[in-house]
Each structure stands twice: as C-alpha cells, then as structure tokens.
Assembly symmetry: C2
C-alpha cells in the first residue's frame, strides 16, 4: 500500500490530488495494465481520508480512461501501454480471465499445451543428460535438435543441413538479431502495413528508417514495393507471407515469386517471419519464400510460439550462408545460448513424431473457433464494418468506417467486458486508426458466440453515438 | 563427408589443394573448434586419393595451427575463433573432456549441478501451474520470483521491491539490453582493462567508442578513471567489482565508494556485473556498488550462470528507477519474456532455502580447487611469471615477461594436453599479449595438480626456446 502514500496540500481538492498521484503511478509504469486497485474502504483508511474522496478519485480516473471497473467488483488499471504507447505492447500477454471475453489475445491458450507429454520428455532428458542439459549448448544450438529441424523443414520444401540452422530464443529474438547484425542508423527497412510492432521496435532500436508498404488480400502491394525498393535501396524487408498478423492475409504464389525476384533485383534481404503457416485450416499450402530463394536472399525465421508454447522461447533461424557467422556472433552477445533443457526436450518431441500430432489437434481447435467467429461476425457486425476472412492463422482484421477510432471503441468494449486490439499499434503513425484485430485463442466457442454478440452491439451503439455526436450522416443515407 | 568433396586440378599438389579446402571450411566456420576430422584412411578413400596425401595435408594444417592431434588418436580442428577472432569466443563453452587438462573453462562443471533437486522442482511447477509455466510471463518477470529475489538482495544490503527488479535471460542479455537502451553510435563507454569480451561485443554492436582503464589489485585505477570521465563524458562504465574476470581482482571499499562518487560527479551510469561475489572463499564481503548508490546511477546485474547453472539463462537486473521502463521495453523486443518454467522452478529453489545450501557446497569445491591451483602454480611456474592470488571467483591471471605472446604458448600447451585462455581476447587491441587466464571448473584437484605441472614445464620450455630464438638475455642475467 505504501506506493499510494502522498502528502496532501490545501491547494486543490484531495480527490484531485489523489487522482494525479495515481495517474503518475500508471504513467510511470508502477501500476501496470489490469492491476487491481485497493478497495475504496481500504485505500480511504490507509490514507486517512473519507471514502467519498476515493470514490470521486476512482470515478474521475475512470472517466479519463485510466481505470475500468468489473461487473463482479474491483477497480483495475488501464495501463500506460494502452494509453500512450500501445505500440510497445506486442507480447500479446494473455489477460488470464481478467476480461470476460478476451478477443484480443493471439497467445495460444495454456489449456491446450501438451504439458503432460512435455513434462515426461523433460524428465527423460534430465535422466539421460544430467547437468549437460543445464550447460551452454554448442554454437548454433543443440546439434541433434538442428538435425531434427533440418528434417522437419523438408516438409516445407526447404532443404538445409543442420550446420545451416541456428536455434534461437524465440522468433522475436531472430528479428532483433537480424536488426542488430544488418542495420545501421538511417538504413532503410520495408515492412508491410499494417505489421508486427515487435519488429518495428527492433528496427527502431537500430535507428533505421522504416517504410510501410500496404498488404492486400493477395499479398504485399508489388507495385508500391518495387517503387519503394528503387527509391530507398533498403537493407531488408520484413514480411509475413502466411496469415499475416494482424490482417490474416496470405501472399499468393505469384506474389511470393515476385517478392523473391525483387529482392534479387534490388539486392536486399528478406526476413520471412513464419509463425502461422502451420495453422492452415482450409487452403492448399504455398511454398515459403525460403524455398523459392535461389539467390540466398531470405532469412527464414520459424517461431514455435504461436502453434506450440510461447513461454518455451524457441525458434529456428535459417539465414543465407553468407550471413550465418555474422548472425551467430550477434546471437552470442544477445544471450550466449538458448536453454539447453528446452532444446533437448523439444528435440525428443520432434523425434517421437509428436509435433505433427500436436499441430493436428491444435489446428482442429482453432479452425472450429475461427469458423464460429467468422459466422458470428457476419451476423453481429453492421454491414458497413467489413472484416477479413483468412483461411488460417489466428487473426481477423475488422475495419470501421474511415472516421472512426478503434481505440475509442476499445475502451467502450472493455467496459462491456470485451477486449479487442486497436489497430493503431500496427502502424508507424500510431494515431487513431479505424481498424482493429480480433483473435480467439483465449476464449471458448461459447465465449466467442457471446463475446461477438456483445461486440456487435457495442460497435452498433458506437457508430450511432459517434454519428450523433459528430452529426455524421449515415453513409447509407448518402445514396438516398 | 560431403563437405570434404573437392575437384582436384593439376596446378598444385593434391595435399595442398586439400589443405586449402579444409582451411576454407575452418575459416568459414563450417568446421568449428574441437571438431573431430575423419580418419586418414576414411578421408583418403572418400576422396579417392592416397593416404599419404591426407597425411601430408593434416601435417601441413597442424603446422599452420589449424589442427591438433590427440595422444589417444584423432585429429581435431583449432577453430577459426582461436586463430583470428578469439574475442568472439566469450561463452566459455566447456571443452567437455576433449583436452585432458582444461584450465581454460570458467563454466561450472555439470557434475555439480543440482539436477535431481531441480528436476523435482520442475515437476512440482508443472503439476501446480500446468500450461501457465509455458506461457509468456508478466512484464518484468514472474512476480513471485521477483519477490524472492527482492528478499535475496537484502542479504547483499540491496533493498529493492519486486517492482524494481527485472528477470532477464542471463547476465549477457542484461549487458546487451543496457547497450541497446543507452548507447548510440560514437557514444563513449569505459571498461576495465582487461575486461569481459561479451560486454565489448555488445558495446561494439552499438557502434560505441570503448575506452579501457586499467584494473589493479585494489580495483580500477581511479586517477585514470577520473581523467577519462572528464575527457570523454561517457554514457556508462562497465565494472566487475567482485573477483573480476579475467584477473580475479576485487575493488576495495575505498575504490567502491570513489567509483560511485565519480559516477555522480560526471553523471554517468555504472553497469555493475556481479557474477562471482557469491564465490568468496576467504575474504570479508564488501558492499556492492548498488548498495552505495544513493543517486540512482547503478544498473545492477546479477547472473546465476557462474555459481549455478549457465544453461538456465537466468539473471536479475536492478536498474535505477529512471531507466526501468526504457530497459524493460528493450528486454521486450529482445526476446519478449524469459522462460516461465525456469523462472518458476528457480523461485521454488529460492523459497525452499536451497540457494544458500548450493552456494555453500559449490564454494567448498571451488575453494579447494583454487587453493590447490595457487599452491601448485607457486611451485611449477618460474619466478619471472607472476600471477594473481584472488580470494574468490574462478579466475587466476598469469603474466609472462613482456615480450612473450600467450597465444603462442596456448598452441604449445594444447599440444601437451593443457588448455589455457590467451590474454589478447580480454583487450580491445587483440594483438599478442603476455598474460593468460586460468580457471578450474572443468578439472578435478588431481587434474589441476597434473595440469599445472605440465603447464609449468611448457612455460619454462617456451621461455627458453623463445629466448634462444630471439637471442633474448635472461632478465635475471641483466642484474649480474
């Protein structure tokens, strides 16, 4: 409770002084998102003020968008991340039931992790390898795992020896390593628009100039891409060809081929971030860029977070051979070596054929949720709010009419117990944006049904109120 | 075997062509340090050449310092790292018995890891937390662990709340995070001379200018330090006050106080890297810089690699509150979150009081080795080769007379089955250097006795031959 202590002065009402104090705790990050505040009675007695002072303070902060109240009781922080720097919040940390309908998180639900199996494998590893599992691993990663991954990659038409593969501590680390190795201040980097804020944070940390090229249903805009390549001569492009986050779009075969051709033509590297290609529900798999890469331009990063267990912190990186040593040197000064225990247990998981099984069952669950979600959104969202219909991945991208701000909708929805992910965090210009992302990893099908209904109503009400407030004519009316 | 394939031409002898080819494999990193080469018979039959071609080739490469032969048989690579870029090799990867007397590695021996206990704790965690142990953890790290660490730190006279502590993926990551957050191109950084090459790699990756200030028995040279601070206005100093690696030196109390005062006076941050303070064998503990830091200038990083298990990849970072958010944002784009399973198991380890027990037994083992090593070195090293006598840590720093190169000694010693760590890797100017580091984590007391004898003889012979070769008069003779 000590952090709430403050010395009141007589210059302004106590509830305002307390409000300012708590605002400070939130914006400095001392109180973080979804943190539960003390009860009114408790805080009042701790600060020796009347309960009405605390009530006024909490109401005041709620109005200003710093707090939210839950129907079951309790007052919670809307963290600084959600107010000023949404872009920083890219880890998709699960809200762990603090919101009844979490349609924001794309982090796989812990309920579906193969914990029992993995526990057995960890025990097997420790019985077999003893302390060596807790020692540094060889450079590039635990060799047997690299061999297993080499054979796994052939299923994706990527043919690489174990010596070409590096094990890294998650896909984000891969992006950060590439940024550190290849980018200097003022270098240019191309990203899709919208894109993954974690990559943007890494590129920014190198002082790079980031250029956005729009992504459409069939992939990145090729005309715009070539124009940008010609104009800026960028060091690399960061692309997610399969079920891109946040849009769910997938590059078609033509786009894949063209992108690799353009990388050759303009002598730039591609970072191919594959975290979703395994979650293909209904479409024929398309070859990864890496498999089309005959000029050694693609740095392939395959994350096991989204389809397996994010907390494992495990991914593979397959760079062109010309970059292998340079990237491995950076990996070394980043964290020396990825956890040996995790590498060894995951190796057994692969060797026992459990990966394919896991993907199959995971796909089954998410495919059903996805189809429920799409069906429900068709029913609940008003006609002027279109959304993408991906055939895989974990994201649906919903677009409000142009002048509407999805972050305002975010606060409205949160009040009703629904979490969405406002679109601005996926753009460089992080001002208001009219799109938002939905995902369904933390909610059951039943919760999806209920949550999308609540969301649909909130959206309708939001559009209605906004129109009244701003005297906007219903777009439909324009035609009559 | 395919990597050995080459098409011979008629322009030069086959053994030379094969030598060049294998050299290429080594310098490109395709054959790494201590890699076992195919037997002569096998390679000859694979390449369809005579065995004498392979014999000549291996001899040739051995002479050039690319290979070494073991007494038991087998030919091994002396990796590229050991020839051109020793500085890059800072992970102290254990040679795992590939050299009979490994006096180089400072990585704790897997034999002493509390594997059985830790295995039980991992199982407890998985039974208790299920999939949540494999999910992303909260920002800053798993809260109960931060609470445990907060209480652990009070034993070091550091008083910090759980909210001020961050869990990171090893000490190296901490240094890299600080470098990324605070350093821009051409900023100045002070390090001790000699210092830890892993830190140098991180500072270099930011394009910083690194300035060395000598370290002596009682700590960093304060006069030189103040001069450098005044002249360059550096962003930070990277210091290891306790049993510094590679020298084993420890800052005395006066030096500790002065260093913190200077940081305040010249408004610069200190990165205090504590990986050895727990391995204090014979001296009274001194307060960490962080505990003397009343102006919020010290970023305290405590690694659990050296005294626990390096492969865990776990450390704590306690920055000044003004840097907390900035450093955590960088941590996020570095690897999002440190392994939840490891954090949770280590938390139980601390809560059950096993840490103190572990430190006690580890100290007991290393103290005995250390004292054996010091005693033996007194006996075996010639008088003109002094060495440090640390009261803790894992390193002894040995200094040959000025004109001698410890890297040449390294190759000589390796031939006799002893590994040492040449000194040049600990300096910015990585040309020849006359000091080298010894450590005793991978060898038993018996092996220390034998190894130091072999080393002593090698050193004597080395000094003798070098003198003859360069017609250097024995320094002792100068006085007569």
């Amino acid at each position: 409770m000590d952090k709430y202590n403050l010395v009141f002065n007589s210059s302004s009402p106590k509830y305002l002084q307390l409000s300012e104090h708590i605002k400070g705790l939130i914006t400095s990050g001392k109180l973080t998102n979804h943190y539960k505040l003390p009860s009114i009675r408790k805080l009042a007695s701790h600060l020796k003020v009347s309960t009405s002072t605390v009530v006024q303070c909490y109401n005041n902060l709620e109005q200003d968008g710093f707090l939210y109240k839950k129907t079951g009781g309790g007052t919670y922080v809307i963290g600084d991340n959600n107010i000023t720097s949404l872009k920083e919040e890219f880890s998709d940390i699960s809200l762990e039931n603090s919101v009844p309908f979490d349609l924001a998180s794309a982090t796989p639900s812990p309920v579906f992790f193969p914990v029992k199996t993995f526990k057995e494998l960890i025990n097997q590893v420790l019985d077999r390898d003893g302390g060596y599992a807790f020692n540094y691993q060889e450079e590039g990663g635990y060799l047997p795992l690299r061999q297993s991954l080499s054979s796994m990659l052939s299923n994706y038409k990527i043919y690489a020896t174990s010596q070409e593969i590096s094990i890294i501590t998650g896909g984000q680390q891969g992006i950060d390593i590439v940024a550190t190795a290849l980018l200097e201040k003022d270098d240019y980097v191309i990203i899709e628009s919208p894109s993954y804020p974690g990559a943007v944070a890494s590129f920014n940390s190198r002082g790079a100039n980031i250029i956005e090229v729009p992504i459409r249903k069939s992939g990145i805009d090729l005309i715009q891409l070539e124009k940008t390549l010609a104009q800026y001569n960028p060091k690399l492009m960061y692309l997610m060809p399969d079920f891109q986050s946040p849009t769910g779009y997938r590059y078609d075969l033509n786009c894949r081929k063209k992108v690799v051709e353009l990388a050759n033509k303009y002598n730039t590297f591609i970072v191919e971030d594959d975290h979703f290609s395994d979650l293909n529900y209904t479409s024929t798999p398309l070859p990864p860029l890496k498999s089309l890469d005959n000029k050694d331009k693609v740095i392939f990063i395959k994350s096991f977070s989204k389809v397996f267990m994010p907390g494992l912190r495990l991914a593979l990186m397959l760079p062109p051979s010309s970059l292998y040593r340079q990237l491995n040197d950076v990996k070394k000064h980043t964290d020396i070596s990825t956890s040996g225990l995790v590498q060894r247990a995951f190796d057994l998981f692969l060797r026992e054929g459990l990966w394919e099984e896991h993907i199959k069952s995971t796909k089954h669950i998410y495919a059903r949720r996805f189809s429920t979600a799409l069906k429900m959104l068709e029913r609940t969202l008003p006609w002027e709010v279109p959304f993408t219909h991906p055939s895989g991945g974990l994201c649906i991208w919903v677009t409000l009419p142009q002048q509407y701000d999805s972050q305002t909708l975010y606060f409205e929805a949160l009040k009703k117990g629904v979490a969405i992910l406002p679109g601005n965090r996926f753009y460089l210009n992080n001002n208001q944006h009219n799109s938002f992302r939905l995902s369904f990893t933390s909610v059951t099908e039943q919760e999806i049904e209920k949550g999308t209904k609540v969301l649909g109503n909130t959206v309708k009400q939001f559009l209605h109120e906004y129109r009244n407030l701003h005297h906007i004519k219903h777009e439909k009316d324009k035609f009559f």
